[in-house]
Amino acid sequence: MQQISDYELELMKTIWGNGGSALYAEIVTALSAKGLNWTKNTIITLLSRLIDKGLLKTNKIGHRNRYTAIVSADEYQSSQTETFLDKIYEGNARDLVATLIQKDLLSASDYDDLKKYWQAVTGDTPSDT
């Protein structure tokens, strides 16, 4: 997946926030709600770039355009995570978690939740052996 700029990400967020699909007018409203009052040309330019990069597709409904996300927020997140992991941690997830813990980015309660989740997924219980 191609990298997108911060502003393009904002656009995607508005579309994801609208259920994965939005009309142009809805996008504009959502953006201004966030305080981003971009000009029409900017918005359309960014949208067309997203389409070129394969994250959006568009179709006309009557007179208006509807933009639909091809990549969901989750997909994007995981893809970006993988990229990040490869780039910064060279694929080593354990180091990432270690950093999270060291930098207090992972709180104790988060850790407990994760442990429970892990157990549920793998069906393992922590053993003492």
């Binding site: 142009y24 971009w38 000009t39 029409k40 040309n41 355009n65």
Partner: protein
Amino acid sequence: MNEIIKLMLSLSLSGTALIILLLLFRPLYRKRLSRKWQYYIWLVVIWRLLLPITPQTSLTGNLILTAEQILPGITTSAPLPQGAGSSSPENISNVKSDSGQSGRIQNGQQPAELLPDADTAAMADAENAIDRPVSAGTLVFALWLITALLLLMRKITIYQSFRKYIDAGCSPLNDMQLLECFGRIIEENHIKSSLDLYTNSLVSSPLLIGLFRPRIILPDADLSERDFYYTVLHELVHYSRRDMLYKWLMQFTLCVHWFNPFVYLMKNEVNQLCELSCDERVIELIPENARISYGDTLLNAAAVGGSYKDTLASVTLHESKELLKRRLDAIMNHKKFTKTIQFITLFVTGILVGGAIVLGAYAAPGSHSDSSADSSAQPDIPAGAVTDQAKSTHSNSNVYADAVPLHDYRIEREDTIYYIYVDGADETDRPLSKVTNGFYKLVFVYEDRYSTFGSFREKDMSGLVRHIGEQCRTMVGNGTITQADADFYLLAAGDIQDTFLTEEEFSENEVPEEEVPETDHHFSVQCFFYQHPYLIGLCYSNSPDRLQTDAYSRTQIVLSDESTVQVYSAPEYIPLLEDPETQNAVTAASSRMLVRVDPESVYTASIIVTDIEYVGNDNFPALAEKYWETQKLPQFSAIFRELDSQTQTQYLEQMFAERNVSFFACCIGELEDNGIQEEAVERYALKAYQENVISFFAVLIGMMDAESKVKWLEKCREDNAANYLHLFGDSADFEDFDSFDKFDDFDDFDKFDKFDDFDNFDDFEDFDDFNKFDDFDNFDIFDDFNDFDNPDNRDAYNKNSISKPTVVDLNRVTQTEVSDKIRNALSACEDGKWYVIESDGCQYIYYNGLPHTYAYEPQFTDSAKGSLITVSIVDIKSDSPHLQRIEAANHYVLLTFSCTPADPDAEYELTIQYNHIPVTYTRSQA
């Protein structure tokens, strides 16, 4: 096939004639007419080159027909040795026999027709072609077609490759500030579609590319805000004018007329004009004092960028050093175009279009054949009356008829129209004829055509034979009719004149009014001359053909240098002109007229006498008084010339005092063209300046020599009289713009290599994508910038500022140059904040911590409350030529600022802008 070749050749010929015409006259109009017109006028040529629309007869068409007749084998389907050689005489005889069927030929102009008979001729050709399998004509046609198609395909593929190459190296611009700025500019200019913005270090200059998904590509996004703004604006103007379509149209024309070298000249010219007219438009959109900045932007753009350039497919910011120089000159010398210029522009356009029509193209022979006369020249005498071959049945084709013509005729009068039925023609052959109330007309009705003479006023009828005689003389002279015809017309006219004289006594009603007939006659350059004992008014005629049909009398006069000139006079003066004294006066006046106004400059050389007024005495002061009272300018200026200089001065004073600009302008030009005039001009210029009457000043500027103008320009600059400064823009030979000396030093133009070859021929780009964007779909063809034509601030300023100008002194100083007091005050200032420190009546503008070197200039706006003075400070790139103007590179701003307002009681407000953004400053005292 053949017919198409002939058509192509004729189109090419006509087009070439127009191209040569336009290029030849270029030095005349290049600086005087708007570049926009110069850019679009070539569309007329392209039209002529591409569209096979022509009147039935035309210059080029006839050329080819003549060529055919002279060299019968060349242009027809010349057979290869195996065929029979009988095709050529066949073709020619086709032409002749068809002409016999000239039906009812209408009065007036022949309508322009598409080629109706290329079909019939082509069919005839095809029949011939069956006998001859391969003819030279077909070969030539094939050669032309294949080459044209090849060229076209090559151009398209080159363009695609270029696009691919560019697209590969493009990266979208992500700087939100620039994107937003871009978006705002688009909105300001009411452009409805969206454009994307990219950078690509491979391009040599900013360019606009793409017809369906347009984008602007910059070589470098690290531009100052001002450079960015102007660059983008320039490209957007290109976009909204659809310049790329024009370029493609030109390329298409090049493909079709690949064999014609002149078309390439045209292409180069149009390319240059594309940029020049775009600059012209940009300048209209930006404030006037921003022009120099715009020029700087062009220069900066020239300095940046890679080595890749394509004139074929993209519209760039600049194209070559020469062109750049011309553009910069044009920017500084741009002026609004006056009504006269607009009129001349229209006039020249009309001439060109008319020329294009007359040049025409080859139209296959087949239906009406005509004489060569363009029948629109004499609307009352249709070409029908002069058909050549059709008359072969009549026996009076003898040109030297000394005998009475052999026609039978019968005259009938209806109201004021005389119908002469010739050789058995009767009412059924008669055309629907009308004439203005009170005017007379003669209609000669033949079985298959008719001729008309008229309109005549009643008082002309007693001289009918003379009038008709003159017209006939002309027509025989240019071959429109034969001498025998002329004699016949005169005979009939004589009859009518006789009957008229006898009838006249009985007709009490129908007295026409003593009005000058409704003429669409156009006069130009009217001038009166005092030629004892008359006051003679002369002018040049703009419609010499009307002089033939209207009842103007004509004389030829011999000038002192033994050359002759045609002089026409309005009918009422004909009796007056019988008098030799009057004739002498008119002759003398005409000589003076020719000296005074060069006939070459008004496109025609027929002088018309419009007024002859007998004034008798030489009492000039009294005469002057009389015309002054009645405010009759033309007559007054004629007399003014004859007054003594003291009286002249008195009148000038009075005109100045009464603010009578028109009289003043006329008469000051009439002063003796030696020291007297110069001195008067200077004196009044000073007065006008002091009393602030800019209209008089403007007139006087036009009469100064270059030296005086320079002095006045300096003075106006000193006084900062901006509204007066505008006046100097009118002088085209005004060299004193020192800011442009550096442009000559610009050498580094190696990068502008022509784009020649590109080898990677990839697939055709998919244009379907653009359908999804409805906002892109609304391509209002030719978006207009009309909304932008609001009155600018500068115009408002000109109207409002009738007071003395404000003087602002703004200078850079360094910290070492100021007093200790100031320096202490400076050290108390925080970094990164703007301060205005006042000390001893002078103010200092200070800021510490600029990222770049800077340039500065004051700007003024006047309002009802007082002056608003803005000090504008702008970052400059370190390699800008501006840098030479700055002695030391500083990272702090320290400017001394003092202001003397025009009105000491008025206030002024000081604003500081940094890169066009107003800043807040703190005031302190030192």
